[in-house]
């Protein structure tokens, strides 16, 4: 029974993995569907005498619907699941159990980070594959290399978000406080996207990379944000470990 297995059991026995996979799969299946039939749906419920015309849906619209939905609700679930694993100091008695037995706090943080990130990326891949398949069936084929690049950028963003949660857990104690702090930073970053040319350097830009790359944007446009996300993830984890070592229980 290692800490890696503990984190895996946390995901499976508490249904957190089901929640993650469920959210991403749900939007993976419904995103392309709503893109394909949005005009018919609105036409059926629309006001009599008012006619709404939509352009013919393209394959990228299916992926854009999926990415748009999971960038909010999916990210919220990822942050909550990660906070429940990484805020292990939230209850003193449980913190005592772990901290008095491990050589260093990194022995707890790293498995919790890796398993949470792995689960989030697995959910992203499942949702993306579902959206990809359904888009191909309903709207048309998608470029394989661009889809893979887009999924890679989105996965890197999730890894950054979970690292941010780890840092927040080292600064505040409760699960909700941890999740709230991380989400506040992510929302602030998303708002800063619109300030001048700063957006292309911010990790939050990567949350829109999947539809962007599929729609024709050069993947290299996202490389600065990817580099910053990777660097900030490493820094956040190092910070979480350093702060975790100093924390008194």
């Amino acid at each position: 029974m290692s800490l890696w297995r503990l984190e895996w059991l946390r995901l499976t026995r508490t249904r957190r993995l089901v929640a993650l996979l469920g959210v991403y799969l749900f939007f993976g299946l419904t995103g392309p569907l709503s893109a394909r039939y949005l005009s018919e749906i609105l036409g059926a419920v629309g006001t009599e005498g008012v006619r709404i015309e939509f352009p013919e849906p393209r394959p990228v619209d299916g992926i854009a619907q999926f990415a748009g939905n999971v960038s909010q609700i999916g990210l919220l679930v990822v942050v909550l699941v990660a906070a429940s694993a990484l805020a292990f100091d939230a209850r003193r008695e449980m913190a005592v159990f772990l901290r008095t037995r491990v050589r260093g706090v990194e022995a707890v943080i790293l498995p919790a980070y890796a398993v949470s990130t792995g689960a989030a990326v697995a959910a992203l891949v499942c949702g993306s594959v579902a959206a990809w398949y359904e888009t191909a069936v309903l709207l048309g084929r998608l470029p394989v290399a661009r889809m893979l690049a887009g999924i890679g950028f989105a996965a890197l963003f999730l890894a950054f978000a979970v690292a941010l949660v780890a840092l927040a857990a080292a600064l505040v104690r409760g699960v909700l406080a941890t999740a709230g702090s991380a989400l506040t930073v992510l929302i602030a970053m998303a708002l800063a996207d619109n300030i001048g040319g700063i957006g292309r350097w911010l990790p939050t830009t990567l949350s829109g990379a999947l539809p962007g790359v599929v729609n024709g944007t050069a993947p290299s446009r996202y490389l600065p944000a990817a580099a910053v996300a990777a660097a900030l993830s490493a820094a956040a984890l190092a910070g979480a470990i350093a702060l975790g070592r100093r924390r008194e229980i």
């Binding site: 029974m1 290692s2 800490l3 026995r13 159990f97 037995r101």
Partner: protein
């Protein structure tokens, strides 16, 4: 000594949770750390376990950190783990050199074999406490720190935990914090009394109680009680006599050796039918109240 502290202090702003504590814990002892709520017991144990840093002073313990184990007052575990998984995780964390068979051994010692494969979310408080002890002793710690291990339990749970502590005393040195003085008097051989962060007394339980024993005897006679009472009140070596509700007499004396000689003479002179005769020792509670009041 397996553990010594020198001038250990811990301040939170202007509040001194610990103030110059010089602890000395003999190897193989069960050391009872007693004190009222807020005395600094939990803070002291947390520092000894390496969970908090002292503001001043030093801890001298030859044991490696991983051989010092702490059990909090109300141990908690992830409720979706089974009891066996909790102990197996503790074993994995303290070191692979502990054989896997030891998991079943400590679960058996803790009386949790039947519940070992149930999730701990359904455990009672007493079971959680015993599971906490099992997860603490799995690594065979050289120094065991138990923070109020029986304070939240019902009498049956308290009895089980105290018995478990008594069985552990042969394997490791134990520091036990408690404000239940009867528990401390039952399982501890060394005592430290802490109040407002200061160590008021430290030493063997015997030296604490004997040194402060009030010289007195409890005498129970069947008859004639009134005659014995009157006769005793006239003796110059008797400092006071009180009739107790159960029919006994509490006889204060100048000294116990003197009373050993004189009491049988008085009882014989009264033709008293003696039921029992015992010297009264001070109990920990009265000494504790005297020291902390």
């Amino acid at each position: 000594m397996i553990l010594r502290t020198a001038g250990l202090s811990k301040r939170y702003g202007s509040h001194a949770a610990l103030d110059g504590v010089d602890l000395a814990v003999p190897e193989g002892s069960v050391y009872g750390l007693v004190g009222p709520n807020g005395a600094g017991k939990t803070t002291l144990l947390a520092i000894l376990a390496g969970l908090r840093r002292p503001t001043a002073g030093a801890v001298d313990c030859p044991l490696p950190r991983r051989r010092v184990a702490l059990l909090p007052d109300t141990p908690q575990f992830d409720p979706w783990l089974t009891g066996r998984e909790v102990v197996a995780l503790a074993r994995e964390l303290v070191g692979a050199e502990v054989p896997a068979a030891r998991v079943d051994e400590v679960l058996h010692d803790a009386g949790l074999v039947d519940a070992a494969d149930r999730r701990v979310g359904g455990y009672s408080r007493g079971m959680l406490q015993r599971l906490g002890i099992a997860a603490t002793v799995i690594g065979e710690p050289g120094l065991l720190l138990l923070d109020e291990p029986a304070s939240a339990l019902d009498p049956a749970g308290r009895r089980e935990v105290l018995d478990l502590i008594l069985r552990l005393r042969v394997r490791s040195t134990t520091i036990l914090s408690s404000h239940i003085l009867a528990d401390v008097q039952e399982v501890c051989d060394t005592v430290g009394i802490l109040r407002s962060g200061r160590l008021l007394f430290q030493g063997s339980l015997d030296s604490l109680l004997v040194g402060r024993a009030i010289p007195a005897y409890r005498v129970r006679v069947r008859e004639p009680v009134a005659a014995v009472l009157q006769r005793l009140r006239g003796e110059d070596w008797v400092t006071g006599v009180e009739a107790e509700p159960d029919g006994g007499l509490r006889v204060g004396v100048r000294s116990l050796p003197e009373a050993e000689l004189q009491l049988p003479r008085v009882l014989a002179a009264c033709d008293a039918r003696l039921v029992s005769l015992e010297p009264l020792a001070a109990d920990l509670e009265s000494v504790f109240l005297e020291l902390t009041s």
